[in-house]
Every structure is written in structure tokens, then in C-alpha cells.
Symmetry: C2
Amino acid sequence: MNKQYTMEDVAKISGVSLSTVSRVLTNSAKVSKTKKSLVLKAVKELDYNINSLASNLASNKSKEIAVIIPDITNPFFAEVFKGIDDIISADNNHYSIMLCNTNFSRSKEKKYIEHIIKKRVEGVIVVSTDLSEELVNNIKRKTSIISIETFLKGVDMVDITNELAMFEATEYLISNGHKKIAFFGWQSGVHSLNQRMEGYKNALEKHNIPLKDNYLVNCGFTQAEVYIAAVNFMESKDIPTAIIAINDNTAISIMVAFEKIGVKIPEDISLIGFDNIVISRIVSPKLTTVAQPSYYMGETAAELLINKINKNRNQRDKETEEIPKRIILPTKLIIRGSVKKIF
Amino acid sequence: MNKQYTMEDVAKISGVSLSTVSRVLTNSAKVSKTKKSLVLKAVKELDYNINSLASNLASNKSKEIAVIIPDITNPFFAEVFKGIDDIISADNNHYSIMLCNTNFSRSKEKKYIEHIIKKRVEGVIVVSTDLSEELVNNIKRKTSIISIETFLKGVDMVDITNELAMFEATEYLISNGHKKIAFFGWQSGVHSLNQRMEGYKNALEKHNIPLKDNYLVNCGFTQAEVYIAAVNFMESKDIPTAIIAINDNTAISIMVAFEKIGVKIPEDISLIGFDNIVISRIVSPKLTTVAQPSYYMGETAAELLINKINKNRNQRDKETEEIPKRIILPTKLIIRGSVKKIF
DNA sequence: GTGAAAGCGCTAACAC
DNA sequence: GTGTTAGCGCTTTCAC
């Protein structure tokens, strides 16, 4: 690696002052054509690049935003991230993105947030991660924050109609003759997931179907956990005619398990997922599921964040505790082949 | 957002010098127990967080690494990223990761690299992206670099046995009686993909099967492109008995297309993919494919990078152009249900 | 337009 | 152990 030059070097070579170099490189003020070209020539000659470490300190802007996400390996989250990225790294903004992949680990979350605060990251987007109120307040005191699909107290949020979606999915099952419907999910405290379970419960209630504890399966979220839970579940005496999975990943793990043990979908049991990830229309049978606008959610959150950053910059220290915004985007039930009509 | 305090504030409140505060907060030297607790108390009281913008400038370390990746939405890349992340954000290192998702766009690549250099990012891992020699040299002059599955001149690399893998996959097809074998890929210039095609060609040659131009399908990499290419291909007069796809994503897009137009796999035509992404064992029929150690590749590259960073720090300016390392990890043909034995 | 100079908030000698 | 001080490489007044 070569030595890195400084603005002073550029200034010397081009015969102008340090501040003129700065002006040229940041377009922060008018500079005569002659000097400008002199500077640019020197920059080229030295292969000089401005040092953001220094400029960020001087201007007190990190030009960085963070995305906290549970698992970038989950296609739904990856899609959300892409939406965020396409806005954030658009030409006009000069932000870079620090990706914080938590693997659902509390300690990783905490560590990342420390990092975020120390780095003076200008804003953070939290995706489906139910940070503690303490952590949220901690972040809010230091930077801007938007959440996606998680309710965080006092935080602007991009959400979908989780409850309604699951309500409709459950009703769809009921309208197909199902009365024995299990729910595969897990206790996470995550808002969106709770909402989904609520939708399921409310639909049952509306149709006077009693909620059964043994139909509420806490199956974990790794493929292995779901697999085991699914196999065990089918060994019980009280087997339902349909299963709703909290998301497609879970549904697909169930499918894998069922195939192994010879349970046929939808002949033996019907199945509905949530997310409409790419795989869901490739598996056999194709999965009936709920589509959510993942990419668009990312975009929306990123736009909100940029606005918020700009606004906060102008009113630092002012006590303006506004009512948090909440943007709710629609979902759609995608009917495919994993539900059987029964009588 | 609150005002952010500085070390000086902490020093004042705790009644010690600024440097003592620094020592406590960075563990960089011994401090007496009394003063240490005084400092810690003040830190807590002010809810103080060290400003990395400043400390990074002073110590000339950005504590950041970058990952350049074509498409985080591709499960293979996501898995590689996870391997990287688990090493990089391990407890001992205090790095954060800037994710550069290029979407295969040259202009985005270039922009990200500018960012990387300006930010004085300490190291970069390039995943399956064939940067121009100019860009590579540009990076090499300013920071440390490791590549995954791409040959970049003079750059250490974590690779797999791409050519051998495809050679074996093709031979497997041949041993199942196939002589008419098409290859779905695209001209990318990316090393790993070229290698794969070479493996295909070499296997044909070894078995005296002439290479046919119309069997070399340049199908693009988006799902839509592959879909169209697959449909068009099946309308031609010279249809093969088997197809090798350059990766699983492509193979699966082909499957989707074939299902639509009623072509049965493997009855009508056999198919082999590459990557062994999660979906490949869920689709129907299960896809015969080549497994590569994606997570482990990420880990390996990250470890190499950390070592390189530490080494480079100690020998900046020294002209030590070593022979680039190349770590080659093994692949494995995973035989499932998408290939039919013919006679 | 342009340059000089005073920071930004730290780290890292250096002296004690 | 501890404090003083000189940077790190920029941005941003301020004066001309």
C-alpha cells in the first residue's frame, strides 16, 4: 500500500491554499476555473482521495447509516435490504450502509448498537427486531431511527397489515371447510409475529372455532427446529386438517419434514405460509401464502429515514417529540396449491 | 436527539485528565482503580460514548471492512456474507462491515470503491466480481483485498474447484448416457463462471463429444431473462437430452419455465445446477447440483483479510509484492432427482 | 474568490 | 500512573 497524501500535499503541488482544495473537492463554494483545474490536475497526479475520517470529524457527519436485520440469509429480509440499499446508495446521497446481521442474538444486537452510536451513524433502520425499550431510547437519544414491521415505542414505522392478512388467510382455510387449524410460530415478542397470531385467533373466534392450545406450536425458527417440531406434531393424536405457518421459511421446513415422513400436502393436510418468498412458488405443491411488498417496504423506510435525518439535523436539541408516524402497506393472499377443499 | 458529550466533559466531571479518560475507555494503558471508577461513573452519568469519528482519525484506523457482492438476494452470496460477518464481527475485532451490493452494475462497483478508499476502509472482500485491473490496482494501492471465487491479478483468493466440479458434473451426465448436453450460462468475464464452462467443455472433449454452438446458451442472470431463454431454447429443432446450468438460480428459473410449457424434468430433459442453495433440495424434482462450502468460504476469506490487515499495517511503504495466495476449497456433486439415465 | 487560522474530538508521544 | 501537548486531515469562519 502506498502512502496516502493529504490536502496539504495537493495544495502545495497546485500552488493554492488548503481551503481552496477543500472547496474544489467538496463543491462547497465557488472557485475560479484556473485554480480549480490546477487542483484537479494535482489530485490526479497524486492519485489523491479525500480522507473521510477527517472530513467526517470536521463536519460532524458520518455519512453512514446502519441496517439491523435478523438474518440476511432469509430471502424476505434480503429483499427488504435491497430496497433500502437502492435508496440509500442512490447518486444524490453519499451514504454507505453498515449491515448489522444479528442472527436473532440479543448480545449481537447490543454490540451493534454500541458500534452504531460510537460511529455516530446518522440513522438506523431496524427490521423485524424487537429491541428493548432501553436500547431504543438509547438509539433515539443519539441518532435517527425507523423500524420495519416491528412496533418500537415512539419510533416511526413501516408496517403491513399483518393481523388482517392472517385473519384472511385463516378465513380462507375456514371457507374451504377447515375447522381444525394449527398455527406454527414462536414466541418472539416481535410485533409483526404477534399480530399474525392475533389474526389467526380472531378469525377462529369470529367463526366460533375454539382455540386449542395443542394447535399452537412453538416451533422455533431454524430449519432444524421446525423440522423436529413438525415431525413430533404429526405423532400426536389430535392432528388438524390445516396448518398456518408464521412465514414461508417455516412453511417450507414443514414441507421438507412432511415429505420425509410421508405426509402429503395438500391431500393429508393443508398449509399456508407468509411472505411470498421466491421459493414459495417453486416448491411442490406451490405454497399458498401472503405476499408483502418487501422491496417497497425497504424503499419506504429508507426514504423516511433520509427525511428524518435532514430534519433532525436542523432541530438538534429542540424538544420536538412528535407522534410517531406509521405507514401501513397492504398485503395480498396468494392462492396456490397447498390448500385442499374439504367437506 | 441529545447533545453529545466529549472526553473533555468526562474528564472535567471525573476530575482526571483527558488522557486518563482515553486510557480507561480504550484499555490502552494501566490506570489506577480509583480514577478508573471515577471515569466510569462520569461516563455513565453523561451517557457518554466515545466518538469513533475522532478516534479513528487520530489512530488512523477506520475499523471498517467492506464486502463487495453482486446480489445479496442470492442465497449463495448471503451465505458467504454470513461466513464473513461471523468472523469480522467476532468479539475480539471491532470492525463493522460496509455492504456493497452491486447488482452487477459497473457504475455501482466504481462508486462503492471510491467510497471504500475515501473512508479508509481497512480491507475489502470481493465476492464473484471481476473488477477491472485498473480498479483492483487502485484498491491495492490503498487498502488490503481478498477475493472470493474471482481471479483478480495479484490478489489473494479463496476459490473452489470450479472447473473440476463442472467436469465431473458433465461426466456424470455422460455416464448416464447423455451425449447431447447444453450449457446455460452467460458471458460475464467472471473467472469462476468461465472455469465452469471450461469444465463442461473439457469433459465433452475427453469423451469425444463435439461442442455445439447452439448448445451454449447465453441466458442472462435475471429470472426473467433465463425464463425467456429457456422457452425459446425449447422451440428450436435441436433439443438436447440434458442441460447444465451455471448455477442453481439459473437451473431453477429453467425449471419454472419448463413447468409452464409442460417440459418434464427429468423425463423429457435432465438438469444439473451449481451451488446447492437451500431451494435446490426443496424443488420438485430435487435438483442434482454441485455443493460448495459457501459459509466456509466467507469465513476463510475474512480470516485471511484480518491477517493481511495486521501484516500490512506493519509494513506500509515496503515494497513487498508477494506471490498471491490461493486457497482452493473442494466441491461435491450432490446427486438428487433431476437427471435421468438414458440409453 | 481566496487564504489564514481555529477548531472537530480524539490518540500517542513525552515528561514527570 | 498521570497530565500536557502536539498532532490526525479535514471544514469552516473570518478577513481581505
